[in-house]
């Protein structure tokens, strides 16, 4: 997850876009809450975006999701002002994008933001290496430096050796890699991706998603990603905004969208999502019901009875040690040999990583009768995942059952 600085890198405030001959004249109607269809019928103007407010933090992948006609492609074109808004402001890293003049806007586009397009937007008359270096060429960077840099990025996306080819000679997936390399080649902090993977077939698409995630691990860009595919949004997004008819329905983290849909529209959307793949252990985990920190066996037994459980998780000096059953403690108490303390009795059981998907956890959890402990790479204990809590998020909307077995 990206670290959140206090001030967002990109702020969108009260953005409106109306298409038509005289957009300003219908703004009153738009603000009064008249519906899109009524405004179109009355004035012949189409409302593209309505009162969009977004905060996008540095280093995150922010996904804007919506169906066709929802205005998502219109919205992303406002960030670099390929489309002028009717009203509202966009501030990027302290710069008010709307106040830039033509020269300022060119500089802004050259150095602050780069863009990846749905149908790649490559120049068919230029070779792959020239396409990748296009942003630098526009900036007037010398050819040697340009080619060198373009080559490095072409390598980074796995297309070394294709320098002299023309885009038409490449497959769709390869072309989009060129598009991605071109976007990265300018070293802009912000990447706009307009349905970048939508035109690719499913296998290539997931490959590209993996590549993007892998690159993002290293580069920590701020990525604004447009998609109509919720699975894609959930897979790559740190935050997701759902756009419907030019209005934002919900903005939040993927699990918030899945588990607490803001309205019927979002709910209908998330209904068919494979939650097991999207949700991770840290979303469904709970604190363990029975947390044994004592070394005294009798005390532990008493605590278990008090909680009504016949097992507990053993901690020593707040380090997780393992799991112990009531039976085992009782046996140890009856056993005359001395010196048995709790952490010695604790048995190891499989643990899961906080970011493991439920899909990966489910098979393991079926083999073990007790909730699986969630332990991260440093050995820190986060909570437990029970079968019941998993089933409840996988089958029911929202509510994770409170009366958990853990």
């Amino acid at each position: 997850m990206p670290e959140e600085t206090s001030k967002p890198l990109i702020q969108v405030n009260g953005l409106y876009k109306v298409f038509g001959n005289d957009p300003a004249s219908v703004m009153a109607d738009v603000r009064s809450g008249m519906s899109k269809d009524d405004i179109l019928a009355k004035t012949g103007h189409a409302v593209g975006l309505k009162d969009i407010n977004l905060d996008i933090h540095k280093g995150s992948i922010f996904v804007i999701m919506g169906l066709s006609g929802s205005g998502k492609s219109t919205l992303i074109r406002h960030f670099n002002r390929l489309i002028e808004p009717t009203e509202g402001s966009i501030t990027v890293d302290g710069t008010d994008v709307m106040s830039l003049n033509a020269k300022g806007l060119e500089q802004f586009r050259r150095h602050k933001m780069s863009m990846v397009f749905q149908h790649f937007g490559l120049m068919p008359h230029r070779t792959v290496i020239e396409n990748v270096g296009y942003g630098l060429m526009v900036q007037g960077v010398a050819k040697n430096e340009r080619v060198q840099k373009a080559k490095a990025w072409l390598d980074a996306v796995g297309l070394a050796g294709y320098e002299a080819q023309y885009p038409a000679q490449l497959s769709g997936g390869q072309q989009q890699r060129v598009g991605l390399a071109r976007a990265l080649c300018t070293d802009a902090d912000i990447l706009l991706m307009d349905e970048a993977f939508s035109a690719l077939d499913p296998l290539i698409r997931s490959e590209m998603q993996d590549q993007l995630i892998a690159l993002q691990e290293k580069l920590r860009k701020t990525i604004i990603f447009i998609t109509h595919d919720l699975d894609e949004a959930l897979r790559i997004g740190d935050y997701i905004a759902i756009l419907k008819d030019g209005e934002l329905s919900q903005v939040g983290r993927p699990e918030e969208i899945l588990l607490k849909p803001a309205d019927d529209y979002v709910e209908a959307f998330v209904r068919d999502v494979n939650r097991a793949r999207v949700l991770t252990a840290d979303v469904v985990m709970k604190p363990p019901a029975c947390r044994l920190t004592t070394e005294n066996l009798n005390e532990a037994l008493k605590q278990m009875r008090g909680e009504g459980k016949d097992y507990g998780y053993v901690f020593a000096d707040s380090d997780y040690k393992g799991i112990v059953t009531r039976e085992r403690i009782q046996d140890a108490i009856e056993d005359p040999s001395p010196n048995a303390d709790l952490s010695e009795l604790a048995e190891a059981m499989p643990t899961v990583q906080p970011d493991a998907s439920l899909e990966d956890i489910l098979p393991t959890s079926l083999e073990h009768p007790y909730p699986l402990p969630v332990v991260d790479g440093d050995g820190d204990f986060h909570g437990v995942v029970s079968r019941k809590s998993m089933i409840s998020v996988l089958t029911e909307n929202g509510e994770t059952g409170e009366s958990d077995a853990a």
């Binding site: 074109r77 670099n80 390929l82 806007l105 060119e106 500089q107 802004f108 586009r109 050259r110 150095h111 933001m113 780069s114 863009m115 397009f117 749905q118 149908h119 790649f120 937007g121 490559l122 120049m123 068919p124 008359h125 296009y134 942003g135 526009v138 900036q139 002299a164 080819q165 023309y166 038409a168 000679q169 071109r182 300018t186 706009l192």
Partner: protein
């Protein structure tokens, strides 16, 4: 009932009124050409100089040198041996039948007309592509230029500039420029929006977008326009010969008036041969330079 005469004959304007209109228009234009004729002629003077120089160049150079240059150029541009040999054979035949000099004259005027049409037409096409308003104004003008019988606009040109090469070139250019304008406009408008958006998104200036994206991507269409322009210029050769443009058109004109069938046929065939050469060579060039834009793995 004299009043009902409009039922049988169209209620036309009075003959004396019509005469007055004609007189004043003709008189006005004549006065205009008398006053400004010399000035306008001097404007076209450099063009005339160039035309004469270019014609002399083609005529004074030994025929074999011209042939080598032309054939070499054809090969460089088309990279096709078949086409190159074909052009050579055609020129040999033309020369053998005694039409070398006229062919050189026609080639020189066609070349100049084509270059002039491109130099004027492409910028006009670009302006048209940039603004819908310009397009709505220019399109009907182009329609008129293409459909108005050539003789009609020959009249004012001849009145203004007399007969000779320059009015001939002007007449040919007026007739032949339309396709290159139209197709430049169309080609630029058809450029993939996303590619253009990509250029803008990377901060390309308007001129970087024009030279780096729009014109190269519109090139196939523009080339088709240039090709059409060349063909139309050749079609005008005979008409231009009526106002004193020398070349293959004059023998054809002579053949019409004197009913020399064979002479007309030979010179006509020479024009056809020139047309086919220009057409094939320009198309081969277009194909060769745009091959990689279409895909395939043969680069």
């Amino acid at each position: 009932m004299a009043d009902a005469s409009w039922l049988s004959a169209f209620p036309a304007m009075d003959r004396s009124d019509l005469l007055a209109i004609r007189k004043s228009l003709d008189g006005g234009y004549r006065a205009f050409s008398r006053t400004y004729g010399d000035v306008i002629e001097s404007i076209f003077d450099p063009l005339l100089q160039f035309l004469v120089w270019f014609e002399r160049l083609l005529l004074d150079t030994p025929w074999w040198l011209v042939l080598i240059c032309v054939v070499g150029l054809v090969y460089l541009v088309s990279r096709s041996w078949k086409l190159t040999v074909g052009v050579m054979v055609a020129f040999m035949l033309i020369g053998y039948f005694g039409m070398w000099e006229n062919t050189m004259r026609t080639m020189s005027i066609i070349t100049v007309c084509t270059l002039l049409s491109i130099a004027l037409g492409i910028p006009i096409g670009i302006v048209m592509a940039r603004s819908d308003r310009t397009q709505t104004i220019v399109t009907p003008i182009l329609d008129v230029m293409q459909t108005m019988p050539a003789f009609v606009y020959l009249i004012p040109v001849v009145m203004l500039l007399g007969i000779g090469k320059v009015p001939g070139v002007i007449a040919v250019v007026i007739y032949a420029i339309a396709p290159v304008i139209r197709l430049t406009n169309l080609g630029i408008r058809l450029v993939d929006k996303e590619v253009l958006e990509a250029a803008a998104a990377y901060g390309a200036t308007p001129s970087q977008r024009l030279w780096g994206v729009q014109l190269p991507l519109a090139m196939p269409t523009i080339m088709a326009g240039i090709n059409q322009t060349i063909m139309m210029a050749l079609a005008m050769v005979v008409i231009a010969s009526m106002i004193g443009v020398k070349g293959l058109g004059q023998p054809v004109l002579k053949s019409i008036t004197n009913q020399y069938f064979t002479m007309g046929l030979f010179n006509g065939l020479a024009i056809v041969a020139l047309a086919i050469m220009f057409d094939r060579v320009s198309q081969a060039y277009a194909r060769r330079t745009q091959k990689h834009m279409k895909g395939g793995n043969d680069a």
